[in-house]
């Protein structure tokens, strides 16, 4: 098959898939639409984490720091400064990026690696959560509510939840495109070189400090934007739900299970996790915890038997077969 037909087939496939995804909410009920929205949302957050954790190999256990900063930035600006949430979203991204660059500068400048970097990020997220408790809980004991303005795209509020489906789909598609773009360029191979062996990458003349910082900046920016989206979806921001360890874990589980360092791994992981979480909720009632217990088992199995995640494992198997080994 020539390259040209392959390419046009690919484009055709993307068009068909987009068409299906665009009309999907009208074919499936409210409930499935909600579940799909959540898959897109966690897929998006997983993709954001994946750029730093999956491609550049810097595992963060504290992405809730950026998520929470994003949620609080746009919400506080909206409530106290009357800033439009769409503009707030960009400012939230910038706030996340600044925080990410700051902590990234410190960690990478002083050579924090592997689990030490992971734990430092965890501590950062916990510190921000404590600050939020200290500063916000007295003034907003029940969390900060965003005033309801009704149905308005400009105000980033919708009575019906379908628009959020499209927003999450759009953001996930954007993150997939960005990841694909990075993977195709030099920057992607620099990230991977750092992940595989940082010392060799440095020896080859790659400025590892700079590229780790770039990965951190992109990842923190995207994650913070996700925070704003979360705030506008639930119209309430509360420190435990945006800065909590649960968010940090939820964000990394998808890529780890689906395949860190692959374009579609985080989406696949998000799908599996959200599917399981809804299944257990339906089977066992709203009792929280069971789905996390199952996440724990899956995580143990994936790390032992599929250390590169599902897609990563498939890719390796495919390469082995095509090489005829």
């Amino acid at each position: 098959m020539s390259n040209k037909t392959k390419r046009s087939e690919k484009i055709f496939g993307i068009i068909i898939l987009s068409a299906i995804l665009l009309i999907l909410p009208y074919l499936i009920g409210d409930y499935i639409t909600y579940v799909t929205t959540m898959i897109f949302f966690f897929g998006y957050l997983g993709l954001a984490w994946n750029i730093l954790g999956g491609y550049a190999g810097q595992f963060s256990f504290g992405h809730a720091a950026f998520f929470g900063v994003g949620a609080y930035t746009s919400t506080l600006l909206q409530i106290h400064g009357g800033v439009n949430p769409w503009i707030g979203m960009i400012l939230a991204g910038i706030a996340g990026l600044l925080l990410g660059s700051f902590i990234g500068y410190l960690c990478f400048r002083y050579g924090l690696k592997g689990p030490y970097f992971a734990l430092a990020m965890l501590a950062l997220a916990e510190m921000l959560r404590l600050l939020a408790v200290e500063w916000m809980t007295l003034r907003y004991p029940l969390g900060i509510s965003i005033p309801i303005k009704g149905d308005s795209f400009l105000d980033f509020q919708f009575k019906n939840k379908i628009p959020y489906y499209y927003i999450c789909l759009f953001m996930m598609a954007g993150a997939i495109y960005l990841t694909h773009y990075i993977e195709q360029r030099k920057i992607g191979s620099y990230f991977k070189a750092i992940r595989e062996n940082e010392d060799s990458a440095q020896a080859l003349g790659i400025n590892t400090f700079k590229y780790k910082l770039v990965a951190m900046a992109i990842s923190s920016f995207l994650t913070a934007i996700g925070g704003t989206l979360y705030a506008q979806y639930y119209l309430i921001v509360e420190e435990e739900s945006v800065f909590g360890v649960t968010i940090s874990i939820a964000v990394l589980l998808g890529p780890i299970i689906g395949g860190a360092g692959t374009v579609f791994g985080p989406v696949l992981g998000g799908f599996i996790l959200e599917f399981l979480s809804e299944m257990t909720r339906n089977l066992l009632g709203a009792y929280s915890g069971v789905h996390l217990m199952i996440y724990g088992i899956i995580l143990i199995f994936v790390i032992i038997f599929l250390p590169h995640g599902i897609l990563g494992g498939l890719q390796l198997a495919y390469r082995r077969i095509s090489k005829g080994v």
Binding site: E134, I297, I300, I304
Partner: protein, 293 residues
């Protein structure tokens, strides 16, 4: 910020040292596992929670004295730790460090949410009449269970130190942590040493759970509070250093307690976390750690 008077300061110093003894015991377990296997055990706090629940249920259901339940919590967590090493951790001894951390995260997710399922998220308190007493020395008042916990924690830590220094099996563990290749050549069975080290590390934190239960709440997520403190202690003392864990525990206990006398509520935790990040950045080998990675 108001300056506390001298009696209050003295009071918080005593409280800090008492709590620090328990932190030391938790951290000794964590640092032993790290020293021997280079694994950062995220599930350490979950094992502590199990120790607390063992003590809680033995008292509530059978009326067994909380300190007597050490006789059950220590061996059962030893076995649980050994099995965890045998069947789960041993599979990934050569995996990248972040995957090892993720594996122990998976174990902790499983244990804590399983506990949540069978024991509900309710906050429980162990109400033992004779432990309600407080001891008064001059102007200082300390609660009896904290004093007992401190004494037991120090005894257990010294016993473990003696075991590692004098007993052959303990020497094998130390040898494995200091010189992997060398200990193999002198015929040490590393696999068995790993089982033992993980078992002992887990037994330590199980004992700490039992000792903490009489003066703290018991709930499936309680371990999370202690595990992060234990990370701070271990990093402060130096990853893998026994003496470091002991001294680090006392320092963090003191810092927390004296800090609480000066600054309100959440800020003391904030200070401990910033200390953690600062040590990681500027003195990653800690106070007593070996300088190499």
């Amino acid at each position: 910020m108001s300056l506390p008077g001298f009696p209050l300061l003295l009071q918080s110093i005593v409280n800090g040292i008492l709590m620090g003894g328990v932190y030391s015991l938790i951290a000794v377990g964590l640092t032993l596992i790290f020293g021997v296997m280079k694994i950062i055990n995220f599930a350490h706090g979950s094992f502590m929670m199990l120790g607390m629940f063992i003590t809680y249920w033995l008292y509530v259901l059978l009326g067994i004295d909380p300190y007597l339940s050490l006789l059950l919590s220590i061996p059962s967590l030893f076995i649980l730790g050994l099995l965890t090493q045998r069947f789960i951790i041993s599979q990934i001894m050569d995996a990248p460090a972040h995957n090892q951390l993720l594996l122990t995260l998976g174990i902790s997710l499983f244990i804590e949410n399983f506990a949540l399922l069978i024991w509900t998220p309710n906050f429980r308190n162990l109400e033992v009449p004779y432990l309600k007493k407080a001891i008064t020395i001059g102007t200082i008042m300390v609660s009896l269970p904290k004093v007992i916990a401190f004494i037991f924690a120090i005894i257990l830590t010294i016993l473990l130190y003696y075991f590692l220094k004098k007993i052959d099996l303990g020497k094998a563990i130390r040898a494995a942590s200091e010189e992997k290749e060398g200990s193999l050549t002198v015929g040490i069975n590393l696999r068995k040493v790993y089982y033992l080290a993980f078992g002992i590390g887990t037994a330590c934190v199980g004992a700490a759970g039992t000792l903490t239960a009489p003066f703290f709440y018991v709930n499936p997520h309680v371990g999370g509070i202690f595990v992060i403190t234990a990370f701070v202690v271990v990093v402060l003392g130096g990853m893998g250093s026994f003496i470091g864990a002991l001294v680090g525990g006392l320092i963090v206990g003191l810092a927390e307690s004296v800090g609480a006398a000066f600054v309100p509520g959440q800020v003391k935790q904030f200070i401990i976390y910033s200390l953690f990040i600062l040590i990681l950045l500027f003195k990653p080998e800690g106070l007593f750690g070996r300088t190499s990675e």
